[in-house]
């Protein structure tokens, strides 16, 4: 297990390198000059001298390769540079906004889990009944409604019309409900379907038949055996989506004025705030890698057959 984790962590290094190279390359392919973007955002008609000075300040007058290597060396020292726009260290900017984004992510994960496990499980057990149809309806809706629109709908009904929740901002747990629900909705759609399919599949397995012949109570079979194994693909899904949730919170953050770093990132893209974009991409890459690793570990823990199978081939 230890070597496995170590191996997985080692893969992070080449992936990081590729991520930095890709972002750096793409930013430089874009025809927009960050110095010009800086002045445009400030509504200033920049003269050529002003532009040149800014480029020098940003280090953009150096050859591309040197720029890249410099950035890389700094990143290795956990220095993501200074934001062009705010003039503050990128790391500070990201960490100060991270807690809000993490709060939102956890909130929506909890909602997604709490809603999709019962619905997906019941839908699988009681195929073609009311609950199954309901789950199908829910997933169609969840998969097809874009989240920004869903956000507006939620605000309109639950906040403006019914006055149950605040429209935007942070503060109380009430502020968290609507944005989390919006973010969780597509996940609910996905997970209920995943769980349903997996439950159906497991019901055909011989262990269920054996358990039944052994006279074990149906509730125990379902709760203790089927659910535990059937939930495995959902956990993989969760892992894939954890990174997605963090980075996908951008739109939801904008709609609900949530002070996370997704919103900050959008501004950074428009302003060509290169250090911020780079820092964000690296962080996102890290999140994906780590969340996948954690999920794999959890899965091994829940369903020991996975690690046993792994060992068979060693």
């Amino acid at each position: 297990m230890g070597t496995y984790v170590l191996k997985r962590i080692m893969t992070i290094i080449p992936i990081f390198l590729i991520a930095t190279l890709l972002t750096f390359g793409m930013i430089n392919l874009s025809p927009v000059d960050p110095a010009e973007a800086y002045f445009t955002a400030a509504h200033i008609q920049a003269t050529d001298e002003m532009l040149e000075q800014k480029r020098h300040e940003f280090g953009l007058d150096q050859p591309l390769l040197i720029q890249y290597v410099n950035a890389l060396i700094k990143i290795c020292q956990f220095d993501f540079g200074i934001s062009y726009v705010t003039n503050k260290p990128v790391w500070e900017e990201i960490t100060s906004r991270m807690p809000a984004t993490i709060q939102l992510t956890i909130g929506s994960l909890l909602i997604a889990i709490l809603v999709s496990i019962p619905i997906g499980f019941l839908a699988g057990m009681k195929k073609n009944t009311g609950i199954d149809h309901f789950s199908r309806f829910l997933s169609f809706i969840g998969a097809s409604i874009p989240s920004f629109w869903l956000g507006y709908l939620f605000i309109f009904f639950f906040s403006v019309k019914l006055d149950l929740f605040p429209v935007e901002g942070t503060g109380t747990w009430k502020h968290l409900i609507l944005p989390s629900l919006t973010l969780a909705f597509p996940l609910i759609a996905l997970y209920t379907r995943l769980l349903r399919a997996s439950v159906l599949e497991n019901l055909q397995e011989s262990y269920v038949l054996f358990a039944r012949t052994r006279g074990i109570h149906e509730k125990v079979i379902m709760g203790k055996h089927v659910l535990r194994i059937a939930i495995s693909p959902m956990i993989t899904g969760l892992g894939m989506n954890l990174g997605n949730l963090m980075t996908g919170a951008i739109i939801v953050e904008a709609v609900f004025s949530w002070p996370g770093f997704g919103r900050y990132f959008i501004d950074a893209i428009f302003n060509r705030d290169v250090p911020v974009i780079q820092g964000y991409v690296l962080l996102a890459a890290g999140l994906f890698l780590i969340s996948n690793l954690i999920v794999d570990l959890i899965q091994m823990y829940i369903d020991p057959r996975i690690s046993r199978k792994g060992r068979q081939y060693q």
Binding site: P31, V32, L110, F156, S257, P259, D267
Partner: protein, 540 residues
């Protein structure tokens, strides 16, 4: 055995969930009290702004928001309706005969919000901090022309320029960078470009509470030297999304939504017709223009430019696209700016036949069986660049495309990002472009100055003018003359010939909008485009 293990496992998971939830609630409960206490004050205006107000430093630009800077910091001179320049922190001023020396008598009753005195020393200190970073402020003409700053006595400050530059007084009214920070705000090395210690200003408002990306609360400055605002607090909520702003407004969380392009035209119209809210539209703040590159062969002929001007129904387009939020413009600059009110130019009325005739005269004929005019085998094809994020520009571009096709002109429209638009404009890589002038307090001098300065895209706009040399001399002259009458005359001539040459087509006057709840009264738009609108506002 395995059962117990399972039990432990479930216990562990439940405990983890519990801890998560408690942290979540714990994180939030602290700030709850804050937001409650802020909303308790009844004499408060809450309004929404798309971005965080940024650092409250009077000497920097991005990402600080102009309106917020103008609430805390004040200028020597203030820009009022119709371009009138009124004393503010300076009681009066004297300009020497040669137009190089400016002596300001400062108000003696002004204090910074921390109780320290406003005097000539602090004015000089601010000027010197600004001049230390003069490169950053090169866009503001008079900064580049300052030779010396002097303290004459406690309340007299003298500014000496290298050469006469009449817009100096007008440029002193801008929101940044020439506003004044108190002594306590300066960092140790006095270099304000890196940041300030704390936002200490002389203005009617003081920053009271601030949470990045969430809100800012400004408290009335009880020791303000001028007329005390009637509301005690202004709360600025940061709401980046336009639809959310409106939903929050409809719910009653906001008292005011204000600005340019802060909500969609449809929403504004809908709220206006609803009747439950007050709405208002400002005087023109700028002109939306169509700018042509006269270096391009097709557009070098004045007849083609005129034909394009005659060839679209401006009234219908402006009304249709902006639903009346903008007004059809006949003049290149709004006529409420200084020196712009008596420009005489022939009004161009929509006339398709005249447009076709002009094109024929210019040699662009319509071959039989074709829809696009040609000259020497070349089709009359023009590209119009627009900012793809701006729906008004896009819709107008599409309208022009279909209108001009009727004349036999093929218009290709190219949507680009704002920064690309600016870059291509400056590099002269365009046929036609949307532009809008800066407005008060920067114009008309900033606008005409761009015509003679390299690197602004406007050099190419005038490059085919027959009297180009003379025109450019007039622009240089107008900034240096110390004679008010001569200046007015020169502006009339300069703006008149720009109109006549038709390479800048005025389309519409851009306006600000405001929507507010019925309990808000005395809302007025500031004459200075960048200032805050809270002077005199009150709430019941």
């Amino acid at each position: 055995m395995s059962n117990r293990k399972n039990k432990n496992r479930y216990l562990l998971i439940s405990v983890m969930i519990l801890i998560f939830s408690i942290t979540l609630i714990g994180c939030s409960s602290e700030s709850v009290e804050n937001s409650d206490s802020a909303s308790e004050s009844s004499n408060m205006i809450t309004f929404a702004w798309p971005r965080d107000i940024g650092e409250m430093n009077p000497h920097i630009y991005n990402p600080s928001q102009l309106f917020a800077q103008s609430m805390i910091y004040e200028p020597l001179v203030s820009y009022q309706d119709g371009g009138e320049l009124k004393p503010h922190l300076a009681e009066s001023w004297k300009i020497s005969e040669d137009g190089k020396e400016y002596v300001f008598n400062l108000r003696q009753d002004v204090k910074f919000s921390d109780g320290t005195k406003f005097n000539a020393d602090i004015v000089k200190k601010n000027f010197d901090a600004i001049l230390n970073n003069a490169d950053m402020h090169g866009w503001l003409g008079f900064i580049t022309k300052i030779d010396q700053t002097e303290v004459i006595n406690e309340f007299t400050f003298k500014l000496t320029l290298k050469e006469p530059y009449y817009p100096t007084i007008q440029e002193l009214a801008v929101v940044r960078p020439v506003r004044f920070l108190g002594e306590a705000g300066f960092p140790k090395d006095d270099d304000t470009s890196k940041g300030v210690e704390k936002p200490v200003g002389t203005g009617p408002w003081v920053l009271d509470e601030y949470k990045v990306d969430e809100f800012a609360v400004f408290q009335r400055n009880e020791d303000y030297w001028g007329e005390l605002p009637s509301v005690e607090k202004i709360k600025v909520k940061v709401i980046p999304d336009a639809e959310t702003r409106i939903l929050a407004f409809e719910k009653g969380d906001l008292d005011l939504v204000y600005g340019e392009g802060v909500i969609s035209i449809d929403t504004f119209k809908q709220l206006e017709s609803d009747g439950s809210y007050e709405t208002s539209i400002s005087e023109p703040v700028a002109t939306r223009q169509l700018v042509m590159n006269t270096n391009k062969e097709q557009l070098s002929d004045i007849r083609v430019r005129q034909a394009l001007h005659y060839g679209f129904n401006k009234q219908a387009m402006v009304d249709g696209v902006t639903s009346g939020l903008e007004e059809k413009a006949d003049f290149i600059l709004p006529t409420n700016l200084p020196y712009t009110s008596n420009v005489d130019a022939t009004k161009v009325e929509y006339n398709v036949n005249k447009a076709k005739q002009l094109l024929d005269e210019a040699g662009w004929k319509l071959p039989k069986g074709k829809t696009v005019r040609e000259k020497d085998g070349k089709p009359l094809e023009i590209e119009l660049m627009y900012n793809s994020a701006e729906i008004i520009q896009k819709t107008m571009a599409e309208t022009l495309q279909s209108e001009w096709l009727g004349l036999g002109v093929k218009l290709n429209i190219a949507g680009v990002e704002l920064t690309t638009q600016v870059e291509r404009f400056k590099a002269n890589e365009f046929d036609m472009n949307f532009y809008s002038n800066f407005g008060a307090p920067y114009d008309p001098h900033t606008f005409v100055n761009m015509m003679v300065t390299e690197g602004f895209g406007f050099r190419e706009v005038i490059s085919s003018y027959p009297n180009k040399e003379e025109f450019m001399n007039q622009i240089v002259e107008v900034q240096q003359t110390t004679d008010e009458n001569e200046r007015q005359q020169l502006y009339t001539v300069i703006l008149g010939s720009l109109q006549e040459q038709s390479s800048i087509v005025p389309i519409s006057y851009i306006k600000k909008i405001a929507i507010y709840q019925k309990n808000v009264s005395n809302f007025t738009f500031p004459a200075n485009r960048d200032e805050h609108p809270f002077t005199g506002i009150s709430v019941k």
